[in-house]
C-alpha cells in the first residue's frame, strides 16, 4: 500500500546517503591551527520542562521532554532530529481529567551545506514561516511559555525539501531566504499538509534588526494562503529585545503579536538583577470575513479561538545556572463571553551531552 510518509522517509535516507558521500568527497585535508582538535561530533541535546497553568476553576500541568539528536557527517552534512513528548493533565471544577499524552517528530532532516550561501534540506523540517515556529518556539528559548494565538496558524512541519541560506548584500546588509515544498502525510507523529512557500528577510547585523516576509500556500482539504511579516530588534544601548509577527489570510483570519523583553542587568550587578528578565506581550486575532466558510480550515488548527480575541501577558524569567530557567507569567484573555485570566509557573532545563 502506498504510504507518502514512508516514501518521504526512504527518499530522505537515500538522499542523506548521497549527500554524505558527496560531502566526504568534497572534504580535503587543509592544514589549520584547529584541525588537530577534530571535527564536529554527534550531540544529544534537548530540554525538559514542567509548566503549570492556573485559571479560575481550572488547573493544568504540562511536563514535556524534547530530545534532539545532532549527527554531523563531516563538516558539510548534518542529520538532525527532535522528538517531542508532552503530557497534559487538567483539573476542572475539582475533578482531574485523563492525562493526555502527545508525541510527535518535530523534525527529522538532513542538511547539506552545498555552498557558503546555500543549504539543501530534505526530510521533515519546521515550516519556515515567520520567526516563532523555527526560532522561538522551543520552550527554553521562548520568553513566555504560552504560545501566541498566531502560532496555531502555522505550527506545522513539512515533509519534503527546502533550500535556504544567507548572503551579504553590502557590508551592513544581509539577505536570508528559505523556500520549501512539502508533501501531504496523515501519519500521526509525522503529519503534514501539501504546501509550498518561502520566507525571506533583510538583516542589519550591526544594528541587530531583521525584517522578514513569509508566504505559504497550503493545498488539499485545508486549502488556504497566508502572508506574514516579522520583525526583530535587539537594542544595544538598553538590554531590550523587541519582536513582532503578523499574519493575514482570507481563509483563516488575521493576527499579530508584539513582545518586548527587558533584562534587568543595567539596574545593578547583583546576580538577582543580572539574571532576571521582564516580558510583555500584546496580541490579537480576528476571524476571517466569512467564518462559516472557513470552519473546516479553522477547526484543523488546534488552539485557535472561535471568536475575535485580545490577549495581554506579562512575565518574569529568572536564569538559574546550568541551563535551568524559572518562569512565571500572568495573562488576560479578552473575548466576547470568554474573558479570563491565567497564571503560569514553570521550570525549563536545557541540556547537551556527547
Amino acid at each position: 500500500m502506498y504510504s507518502p510518509t514512508r516514501s518521504v522517509a526512504i527518499l530522505s535516507l537515500q538522499l542523506a546517503m548521497v549527500l554524505a558521500t558527496a560531502a566526504r568527497a568534497q572534504q580535503q585535508p587543509t592544514p589549520t591551527a584547529k584541525s588537530s582538535e577534530g571535527g564536529p561530533v554527534p550531540v544529544i541535546t534537548g530540554m525538559m520542562s514542567y509548566q503549570s497553568n492556573f485559571s479560575p476553576g481550572t488547573t493544568d500541568i504540562n511536563p514535556e521532554f524534547d530530545p534532539i539528536l545532532l549527527l554531523p557527517i563531516g563538516e558539510k552534512v548534518l542529520i538532525e532530529s527532535e522528538f517531542s513528548m508532552s503530557m497534559s493533565l487538567d483539573r476542572d471544577q475539582g475533578q482531574w481529567g485523563p492525562a493526555v499524552v502527545d508525541h510527535s517528530v518535530e523534525y527529522l532532516q538532513a542538511n547539506y551545506i552545498a555552498h557558503p550561501n546555500l543549504t539543501v534540506t530534505i526530510g521533515r523540517f519546521l515550516t519556515p514561516f515567520g520567526i516563532y515556529r523555527e526560532r522561538l518556539h522551543p520552550l527554553w528559548i521562548r520568553n513566555l511559555q504560552a504560545e501566541p494565538i498566531l502560532f496555531s496558524l502555522n505550527a506545522t512541519s513539512c515533509n519534503g525539501a527546502m533550500l535556504r541560506g544567507a548572503a551579504h548584500v553590502t557590508k551592513e546588509v544581509d539577505v536570508t531566504y528559505a523556500t520549501y515544498y512539502s508533501a501531504a502525510s496523515t501519519v500521526k507523529v509525522m503529519d503534514s499538509d501539501k504546501q509550498i512557500g518561502f520566507r525571506t528577510s533583510i538583516l542589519l547585523p550591526s544594528r541587530r534588526i531583521e525584517v522578514g516576509v513569509s508566504y505559504n500556500h497550503t493545498m488539499g482539504d485545508n486549502r488556504h494562503n497566508m502572508l506574514g511579516t516579522d520583525f526583530t530588534w535587539n537594542l544595544q544601548r538598553v538590554p531590550l529585545d523587541v519582536r513582532a509577527e503578523a499574519l493575514t489570510s482570507k481563509e483563516v483570519g488575521k493576527s499579530y503579536w508584539l513582545e518586548a523583553a527587558y533584562r534587568l542587568s543595567r539596574l545593578g550587578h547583583s546576580p538577582l538583577l543580572r539574571n532576571t528578565q521582564l516580558v510583555f506581550r500584546q496580541e490579537q486575532y480576528w476571524l476571517p470575513g466569512d467564518p462559516a466558510a472557513a470552519l473546516n480550515v479553522i477547526n484543523g488548527m488546534g488552539g485557535l479561538p472561535d471568536t475575535g480575541t485580545k490577549r495581554s501577558t506579562i512575565g518574569l524569567n529568572y536564569y538559574l545556572s546550568h541551563g535551568f530557567r524559572f518562569n512565571t507569567a500572568y495573562g488576560g484573555n479578552y473575548a466576547t463571553g470568554e474573558n479570563s485570566h491565567t497564571w503560569n509557573v514553570g521550570l525549563t532545563y536545557r541540556f547537551a551531552a556527547l
Binding site: V43, P72, I113, N117, L118, K171, D174, T179, Q277
Partner: protein, 103 residues
C-alpha cells in the same frame, strides 16, 4: 504554478545576491560582534561545551538561523574562546572556506 515561479524567482534572486557577495571582499569579522549580532537575536544566554560539540551546535544553528558561512566561523571562534577578528577572503573554494581565513 505561478506560486512556484514566485518561489523560484525568490531563490534565483537570493542566489544572485549570494554570488555577488562571494565576489565581494569583506574586511574583518569580530567574533564577539558576530555572536552578539546573531545568537542574541533569539538566545538570552548560551552554555559552554567542548570544542567539537560546539562545532556541531554551530552547524545546527547555521542552518536554523540562516547564518552566512563567515559569520558561523566567527561565532565558532567566539564560543571557543578566540577573540581575534577573522579575515574573510575575497573568494575561495567552498571546500576550503570553512578552514581558512583565520589570522
Amino acid at each position: 504554478m505561478k506560486r512556484l515561479l514566485v518561489c523560484l524567482s525568490m531563490l534565483t534572486s537570493a542566489a544572485c545576491a549570494a554570488q555577488s557577495a562571494e565576489n565581494r571582499s569583506h574586511s574583518t569579522i569580530d567574533p564577539d560582534a558576530a555572536y552578539k549580532n546573531n545568537c542574541m537575536r533569539c538566545h538570552t544566554a548560551t552554555q559552554q561545551y567542548s570544542t567539537r560539540m560546539t562545532k556541531t551546535i554551530v552547524m545546527h544553528m547555521r542552518v536554523r538561523a540562516n547564518l552566512p558561512e563567515d559569520q558561523a566561523r566567527a561565532i565558532l571562534a567566539y564560543l571557543n574562546g578566540e577573540s581575534e577578528p577573522l579575515q574573510t577572503p575575497a573568494k575561495q573554494p567552498a571546500a576550503e572556506s570553512s578552514h581558512q581565513g583565520r589570522k
